[in-house]
C-alpha cells in the first residue's frame, strides 16, 4: 500500500475552483465543527441555521450585521492598503484605539452643530490613527525596521493609554465604571432611516470606492502596486519606496482610526475599557482574504461580521458557550486561508500499488527556463 501525493502549481485556476473553494472551505469547516457542537449536545443544523441564515431574517437583523461590518470594513482597509505596498500593518488595533480616544475626546469637549461636529470628529480620529502609524511607518521607510513589530508594540502603548484614560482623566458617567460619559447627541452618527446602521457605513463604502479608484486608476496606485511587488525594481525606476511606505501606512492608520470612532459614535455611544474585541487583529485575515481586490476585501469584512453576529445569536439563543463559537469561527478562517492553497496548486492523491501512480497524473506546462 502506498499513498502518493503530488503537488503541482496550477498554470491557470479554473473559474469553478476560483469561486467554489471559499464556499467549499466554509462547508468543510462547518463539517469539522460539528464534532465540537455534538460534543456539547447541540444540534449542529439548528446552530448553523441560527448562525448563518437567521441574521438575514429581517431588516433589523441584517442591519445588525451591517453595524458590525462598518468598523471591520474600515479597519480592513487600514490593513489592506499597506499590504498592497508590501507592508504588514499588524497593529491596526492600536491605530483604531487612537482614533477612538481622540474622536471621543472631541465629541465630548467640542460643542458644535451636528453637521459640523461630525466631520471634525471624523477628521480628528483619522489624524490620530494616522499619527499613531506614523512612527512605525517612518522607521520602516527610513531605516527598514520591521513594521510588523513596531505597529504591534504601538498597539500595547495605545491600549494602556486607553485604560488609563477611561479610569482617570476621561472617566465619566455614573457608578465609576471604566468608561467615558455618553457622547452628546449632536456627536452621535445619525442612523440610516429605518435601520440601526449609521452613516459610518456610508463613509466606509465611500472609502472602499475611493481606494478602488486610487489603486486601479491613478499613478499613485501604480507606484504602490509596483513597490509592493518588487521594491528594488521600483526604486531603480525612480519610484520612491520611502514615500509609498510612509503614505500607505499612515493612510492605513487613518482608516483604522476612523473605524475606532465609527464604532463609538455610531454604535456604543461611549468609550468603554474594552469596546473593540480585537477588530484590528481581525482585520488582518480580512485583508489577507481580500488582498486581490478591494471589493473582495469588502466581502470578507461582511462575512466576518456575519460570523460574529451569527455567533452571538447562537450563544444567546441556544446557550452554547461562546468558546465553542470561537472555535467554529477560528476553523472557518483557518479553512478559508488554507483553501487558497488549492486555488494555486493541484493536489493528486493516489492510493494503491505504485504502478498506478503516474499514468493518470495531471498535466502541467513547463518551459526550459
Amino acid at each position: 500500500m502506498l499513498v502518493d501525493i503530488e503537488i503541482d502549481a496550477r498554470e491557470q485556476t479554473p473559474s469553478w475552483i476560483a469561486y467554489g473553494t471559499p464556499l467549499f472551505a466554509i462547508a468543510a469547516a462547518l463539517a469539522v465543527s460539528v464534532v465540537a457542537l455534538v460534543a456539547i449536545g447541540v444540534n449542529p443544523i439548528a446552530a448553523y441555521v441560527e448562525m448563518f441564515l437567521r441574521p438575514f431574517g429581517t431588516v433589523a437583523t441584517i442591519s445588525n450585521v451591517l453595524v458590525r461590518a462598518t468598523p471591520l470594513i474600515l479597519v480592513g482597509l487600514g490593513v489592506y492598503l499597506p499590504m498592497k505596498a508590501g507592508l504588514w500593518n499588524i497593529g491596526a488595533e492600536g491605530q483604531l484605539l487612537a482614533g477612538a480616544i481622540v474622536g471621543t475626546w472631541i465629541a465630548i469637549n467640542v460643542t458644535l452643530p451636528q453637521l459640523l461636529v461630525i466631520p471634525v470628529i471624523l477628521f480628528g480620529s483619522a489624524i490620530a490613527g494616522g499619527l499613531w502609524a506614523f512612527i512605525p511607518a517612518w522607521l520602516r521607510a527610513k531605516w527598514g525596521i520591521s513594521e510588523i513589530i513596531t505597529t504591534l508594540l504601538f498597539t500595547f502603548i495605545a491600549a494602556d493609554i486607553q485604560l488609563y484614560l477611561v479610569r482617570g482623566p476621561m472617566q465619566g458617567g455614573s457608578g465609576g465604571f471604566p468608561q467615558t460619559e455618553l457622547l452628546p447627541e449632536a456627536a452621535e452618527f445619525p442612523a440610516i432611516p429605518g435601520t440601526r446602521a449609521h452613516v459610518g457605513l456610508l463613509v466606509a463604502l465611500l472609502i472602499v470606492v475611493l481606494v478602488y479608484v486610487a489603486m486601479n486608476r491613478t499613478r499613485f496606485g501604480f507606484r504602490v502596486n509596483f513597490v509592493g511587488s518588487n521594491a528594488d525594481a521600483a526604486e531603480q525606476a525612480g519610484m520612491s519606496r520611502y514615500r509609498v511606505y510612509l503614505l500607505t501606512l499612515v493612510a492605513g492608520g487613518a482608516l483604522a482610526g476612523l473605524a475606532g470612532i465609527s464604532e463609538i459614535a455610531g454604535n456604543q455611544s461611549r468609550l468603554h475599557a474594552s469596546f473593540a474585541p480585537g477588530y484590528g487583529y481581525t482585520a488582518v485575515p480580512i485583508a489577507l482574504l481580500g488582498r486581490n481586490g478591494v471589493f473582495r476585501m469588502l466581502l470578507a469584512a461582511l462575512f466576518f461580521a456575519l460570523l460574529f453576529v451569527g455567533g452571538n445569536r447562537v450563544t444567546v439563543a441556544m446557550e452554547v458557550p461562546s468558546a465553542i463559537i470561537d472555535i467554529v469561527q477560528a476553523l472557518v478562517i483557518l479553512f478559508l486561508i488554507t483553501a487558497e492553497f488549492f486555488q494555486r496548486y493541484r493536489l493528486s492523491v493516489s492510493i494503491g500499488r505504485r504502478d498506478d501512480g503516474r499514468s493518470i497524473r495531471g498535466t502541467e506546462v513547463t518551459t526550459d527556463d
Binding site: 486601479n216 486608476r217 491613478t218 499613478r219 499613485f220 496606485g221 501604480f222 507606484r223 502596486n225 509596483f226 511587488s229 518588487n230 528594488d232 525594481a233 521600483a234 526604486e235 531603480q236 525606476a237 525612480g238 519610484m239 520612491s240 505504485r354 501512480g357 503516474r358 499514468s359 497524473r361 498535466t363 502541467e364 506546462v365 513547463t366 518551459t367 526550459d368 527556463d369
Partner: protein, 570 residues
C-alpha cells in the same frame, strides 16, 4: 502510454548507455517533445542543444523520472527503464545537477551530500555491533529503527567524499559549510553529490549559466576527467561555444522537434546555430561608422561600495559620447555592478561626480536620472529589472509611467498603457505573451523578459543606456536580437555603456573598450588597437595575475550572489 511494458525486454549489448526512443510529451496546447530520440554512448560528453523552450528540460525531466512520457521507451544499460520518480533514476545510476543548486547553505558539504541517503551513527552499524548485552540492545529492531531515523554517522561518508574529491581533483573542504563556498565550488559539491550515489550518467542543466569563464573552463576539465573514468555526461546548453569545445556528439532540439544528432567535430558553429534556430544566424554584426556627438556621460573620480560596505570602485573616470558604444570588460565581481549602478543613478557614489548630458547628478535620486534620459538594463533581470508578479503591461511602463500620454497628473489611463505595452511586445518580438494585462513578467523565459526590459528602456529613446550583461543566459536568437538593437540605438545617437563578460560581444559592438580590474580601469583602448589576448590578460590583473585567476578570490561576493540568486545576502 508506456509501450515498453508490452514489448518483451530485449537486452542489446552495445556501446550505448542510454537510448531514449521516440519520446513524446505533450502539455495542454504544447508538444514539448515530439518523437525525440536520444542515444548516449558510454564515456562521451553528449550535448543537448536548443533555445529556451525547445524541450531540453522536458526531455531531461522525463529521463530523471519527474515527468511520465506520453509515448516512447527508455533503455538504460540495455535494459528497459521504468521511471516513476527521481529516486528511480538515482537508483538506476542517473544523476542530475540542476541549474539552481539544491544545497542547504548552513549545512556542511558532507551533510549536504548525504542528505537522503545518510547512515546511522557508528555504534549502531551492523559491523560495529559486536557481542554482549549492549550489542543485543543496540541491534534490536526498535533501537535500530530509532537510530536510523535520528542518528547521523558522518565519519564514513566524509572519508568517501574526500576520497572522491581527491580522485577528481576537487578542491573542496568537505567539512566547510556550503555558504562559505563560491559558485564553482558549490557546483562541484552538486557533482560530488551525484558521484556519491554511484552514477553512470550525469546530467548537467546549463551548468555554466552561473559561472565565470574561468570557472566554466575548470568545470569542463572536470567533465573530461569524469568521462575518462567511464562516466557519461549529458550537457544541456544553448551556448554553441561550449558544445564545440567539450562535447563529442550533440543532439539538437527545436520547438520540441528532434533536429538530429551529429558528431560535434563534423559541424561548425554556424551549422549548429542553423539547426538550433532554423535559419542563418549572423555572428558578425555589421557596424556602420557613426559620428560621435557631445558627451552624455562624464563620470569623474567615482568611488563606490557594495551592499556590505566593501570598497568596490576606486576613483574611476568614464566618458561616453552620444552615438558610441563603450564596452567594459572584466571578470565578474571587479566593480562592474557598482559602476553600472552608480552611473545609472541607482547607487550613490562615495566620491566623485557624475554628469549626464552636462548636468551634475552625483547625489540625485534615481528619478532624476530617469528624467535626464538615462536607461538601465540591470544585471539581474528578476531581482531588479521587473516586478515578476505584475503583468507585462505594468512592467512595460515601469520607467515611462510618468509620461503624459498615459493620462493627466492624477489619473492613469490603463487603456493606453495596454496599447503601448502591446506595441512594445510586437516591436521587440517578445514571445509567450497572449494578453499583456494578465500574463505575468515572471512567466516569460529569460530571453523574452530581457527583450521586454530592453524594449521598455529603448522606447524612451534615452541619451545614455547602461546595459549590464544584457545577453547573459539568453539564447542565440535573442542574443542576436539584443545586439542588433543596441547597435541600432547607438546609430540613433544614444551613448551606450555596455558591460559584458563575453569578449566576442565587446569586440563586435564596442567603439571603445575599457578593462576594469579590482575597481579600477586598467586599460583604455579600441577593438581595432588591441587583441582578445591582451584584454584577457588585463582583465586578470596583467602579468602577475596568471596565478590569481586559477584560484579566484573565494570571498568574491558577486559570484557568490549569483550562485544562490542573492539569497545569502538577505
Amino acid at each position: 502510454m508506456w509501450m515498453s511494458y508490452i514489448q518483451p525486454p530485449v537486452t542489446v549489448m552495445t556501446d550505448d548507455l542510454l537510448r531514449m526512443e521516440s519520446i513524446v510529451k505533450t502539455f495542454p496546447g504544447v508538444i514539448a517533445n515530439d518523437h525525440v530520440d536520444l542515444t548516449v554512448r558510454r564515456g562521451e560528453i553528449h550535448g543537448l542543444l536548443g533555445e529556451n523552450g525547445a524541450g531540453k528540460s522536458t526531455l531531461m525531466k522525463v529521463l530523471y523520472g519527474m515527468y511520465a512520457p506520453d509515448e516512447g521507451t527508455i533503455r538504460f544499460d540495455g535494459e528497459p527503464l521504468r521511471l516513476d520518480r527521481p529516486q528511480d533514476a538515482i537508483d538506476a545510476g542517473i544523476g542530475m545537477v540542476h541549474q539552481h543548486f539544491k544545497l542547504i547553505p548552513r549545512l556542511s558539504v558532507t551533510e549536504n551530500i548525504v542528505l537522503g541517503s545518510r547512515e546511522p551513527a557508528a555504534p549502531f552499524r551492523q559491523e560495529n555491533l559486536g557481542d554482549g548485552l549492549l550489542a543485543t540492545l543496540r541491534s534490536s529492531d526498535p533501537v535500530q529503527a530509532v537510530a536510523s531515523r535520528f542518528s547521523l554517522g558522518l565519519d564514513r561518508p566524509q572519508r568517501r567524499i574526500s576520497d572522491l574529491a581527491d580522485q577528481y581533483g576537487f578542491d573542496v573542504d568537505v567539512s566547510a559549510p556550503v555558504r562559505e563556498l563560491d559558485v564553482g565550488q558549490r557546483q562541484r559539491v552538486e557533482i560530488l553529490k551525484a558521484l556519491y550515489r554511484d552514477v553512470d550518467l550525469l546530467i548537467l542543466d546549463e551548468p555554466t549559466a552561473v559561472l565565470t569563464p574561468v570557472e566554466a573552463e575548470r568545470l569542463f576539465e572536470t567533465l573530461e576527467r569524469l568521462v575518462d573514468d567511464g562516466l557519461s555526461v549529458i550537457l544541456i546548453t544553448h551556448k554553441l561555444k561550449e558544445v564545440k569545445s567539450v562535447t563529442d556528439r550533440v543532439t539538437v532540439l527545436r520547438e520540441g522537434e528532434d533536429i538530429g544528432t551529429v558528431e560535434t567535430a563534423t559541424v561548425d558553429r554556424s551549422e549548429l546555430a542553423r539547426m538550433m534556430v532554423g535559419r542563418d544566424v549572423l555572428f558578425e554584426i555589421d557596424k556602420p561608422d557613426t559620428t560621435v556627438g557631445e558627451p552624455v556621460l562624464e563620470a569623474t573620480g567615482v568611488s563606490a561600495i557594495d551592499d556590505r560596505g566593501v570598497d568596490k570602485l576606486s576613483s574611476v573616470d568614464v566618458r561616453v559620447d552620444a552615438g558610441e558604444i563603450v564596452g567594459i570588460a572584466g571578470v565578474s565581481g571587479n566593480g562592474q555592478k557598482q559602476l553600472a549602478e552608480t552611473v545609472a543613478g541607482v547607487r550613490d557614489p562615495t566620491a566623485g561626480t557624475i554628469e549626464i548630458s552636462g548636468q551634475g547628478l552625483a547625489d540625485a535620486s534615481p528619478e532624476e536620472f530617469v528624467a535626464q534620459g538615462v536607461s538601465f538594463v540591470p544585471e539581474d533581470r528578476h531581482e531588479h529589472g521587473c516586478a515578476g508578479d505584475l503583468s507585462v503591461m505594468h512592467n512595460a511602463v515601469m520607467k515611462d509611467f510618468r509620461d503624459e500620454q498615459f493620462g493627466d497628473s492624477v489619473l492613469f489611463d490603463y487603456g493606453s498603457v495596454g496599447d503601448f505595452a502591446s506595441e512594445l511586445v510586437d516591436d521587440f518580438d517578445v514571445r509567450g505573451v497572449s494578453d499583456v494585462t494578465t500574463n505575468c513578467a515572471k512567466d516569460l523565459s529569460g530571453g523574452n523578459l530581457q527583450k521586454l526590459i530592453l524594449a521598455r528602456e529603448l522606447a524612451r529613446d534615452p541619451d545614455l543606456l547602461v546595459a549590464n550583461q544584457p545577453t547573459r543566459g539568453i539564447d542565440v536568437g535573442a542574443i542576436e536580437f539584443v545586439r542588433e538593437r543596441l547597435l541600432e540605438q547607438r546609430n540613433r545617437g544614444t551613448g551606450v555603456l555596455l558591460f559584458s563578460e563575453d569578449l566576442d560581444e565587446l569586440f563586435d559592438l564596442s567603439d571603445r573598450l575599457l578593462v576594469i580590474y579590482e575597481g579600477e580601469i586598467v586599460l583604455r583602448t579600441t577593438p581595432e588597437e588591441t587583441t582578445r589576448e591582451q584584454v584577457s590578460v588585463e582583465m586578470n590583473g596583467g602579468g602577475e595575475a596568471q596565478v590569481s585567476v586559477a584560484d579566484a578570490d573565494p570571498a568574491d561576493t558577486a559570484t557568490r550572489r549569483a550562485a544562490d540568486g542573492g539569497r545569502s545576502d538577505q
